[in-house]
Subunit: 369 residues, 2 copies
Amino acid sequence: MSSERTAGAVLTVDLAAIAGNWRRLEDKTGQGRCAGVVKANAYGLGMARVAPALARAGCRVFFVAHIEEGVALRALLPAADIHVLNGALPGTEAEIRDARLVPVLNSLGDIERWQAFCAKCGEMLAADVHVDTGMARLGLPPSEFAVLAAEPARLSGIRLSHVMSHLACADEPEHPLNGRQLADFRAALARLPRAAASFANSSGIFLGADYHFDLARPGIALYGGNPQPGRPNPMAQVVRLQGKILQVRDVDTPQTVGYGATHRFTGPGRVATVAVGYADGFLRALSNSGCGWFGDVRAPIVGRVSMDLITLDVGSVPPHLAAPGAMVDLIGPNSPIDDVAAAAGTIGYEILTGLGDRYHRVYVGEAAA
Amino acid sequence: MSSERTAGAVLTVDLAAIAGNWRRLEDKTGQGRCAGVVKANAYGLGMARVAPALARAGCRVFFVAHIEEGVALRALLPAADIHVLNGALPGTEAEIRDARLVPVLNSLGDIERWQAFCAKCGEMLAADVHVDTGMARLGLPPSEFAVLAAEPARLSGIRLSHVMSHLACADEPEHPLNGRQLADFRAALARLPRAAASFANSSGIFLGADYHFDLARPGIALYGGNPQPGRPNPMAQVVRLQGKILQVRDVDTPQTVGYGATHRFTGPGRVATVAVGYADGFLRALSNSGCGWFGDVRAPIVGRVSMDLITLDVGSVPPHLAAPGAMVDLIGPNSPIDDVAAAAGTIGYEILTGLGDRYHRVYVGEAAA
């Protein structure tokens, strides 16, 4: 709804960088072995633009969380292979079939319902089976897996697409759970009917070829998040968020800033107010913690992030850069999403998926993608 | 885009409660002295539904943050008095005039540009003047105010609608800044051309009649947030968020839950996985901290909130309530927005403005409103 002129911020999404990141991951996993995770509106960046860019780069298999995301993606990519991680809620089977989605079956109950639906349709409809190996979130727990392994007929009538599992601690390469999950997943595969296997998320790809199997499911790494926290980020940055300065004011007497008077200037200073706030997903946890960048000059957030505004200490910024109408980088070359997240006590994923509706969004690199 | 059947959660917004809250506040401020703040899509609840409900309740004056919000509101309410808090960015004057919006002028520069625009149009266009008395965010700082007070001709040609200021600590009634801001605001009014005065936000209304002036600007209290933290909430709850259970599983061996393995079951237990995550604005800060409610039975969040899912310990919940397809209250009678916010280390405002796009939204109480 916004125009660059009236919006409080401009969000630039680099589709060529997303495509490049996907190709880099596919190089690691091997051709045809790398999917693209585009749930949550492609991690907040806009599935309608991101998914076609991935498809042009060669991505053929996509994962979403919700059925409705799958339906929307089907309209964009008629030929894609689309998997729905949250699976088939009771009563949604027809929607899944009609959009030719592949539900991930997470429990014996899911399998039983999908089998019944296939029988009713007289058609072997595709589905994945998710075996839990350590998340305790979705997927068959050990007790249900034992039943399935003992009674493979529970899968008859279903076209088994992939057997999958999900890593809990892949971003901590030394975590003992990684190796345990890998061993448990291999053991599970050996006890189920032959099917393609899918295991690694973004960080899992970097745990080594043992973790790759037939299909990796990267998400955050496509969008520039570092799959190897604490090491140099191998992925290209995708997002830039520039906030617009509404007002710059001098502080000449001791003065507090913002709600709760949590920041105090004791001497002269300068404050720039920027038209971005927590209603734009710029988390309130960044109060007195995050920063903006004017080129290479850092301007700390002072006071609390409010709903529609933040206040920056621009005392060190050349005045011609910090002026009403000028832009300041909130996410950008000097403040990648992982750094913004760290300042907010969270992870880059939450920064991305929170990116607000009020930003004016610009997509670049479409031709290259 | 969602249907109740396929969505991962249902968000119910009670328009009658919003209307009732507005009337209660208007009772306190006096007839015609209570505006409605509907910025940030009416605090995440949907301006298109909320603003007409407020108008039917008698609200005539509205505040938004962005010009584009004002333009959208104008299309909904042709006769309303609509004020834009973030004011007139350079080059946006024509949009403001065309939508008959009242910009809040926050600096001498804003005033100068609006005056020039009025002269160019040959029309006295309405505007507010915002005098800062302690936020250091938007509004004329003391140095600029002194210039304006000494040179009232700077306002000639402008139809001065309101002089306003904004409280920094109104939710802390004992905070000394409240009284200082009140005194400074009165002093400012005395030195400016006669105009209506607007000062109190939600909490400010509860600081007493001295703070009411001609127009109060409540936001959060309309939407059920407690304007008097630490005391009983005088406002009716507006929002209910019910998450859908995807899977319930037994834990029979010692087992960790979720990313980073941050929660450990040491004995038998039961986990319900719910289709709501931080991509829905259900903050990651609620990891191992928030809860769901099955009627009056509390089910703690165990493990990290992930992008599309949370996991609840439902060991104490009757099995027929915690079953696949059943709903759990994440915001509701037992967990009002302020409690959810406290568990996340934030304020109810951020919980509301973060409410996600993937929820199936239901509006009730429209007739009563």
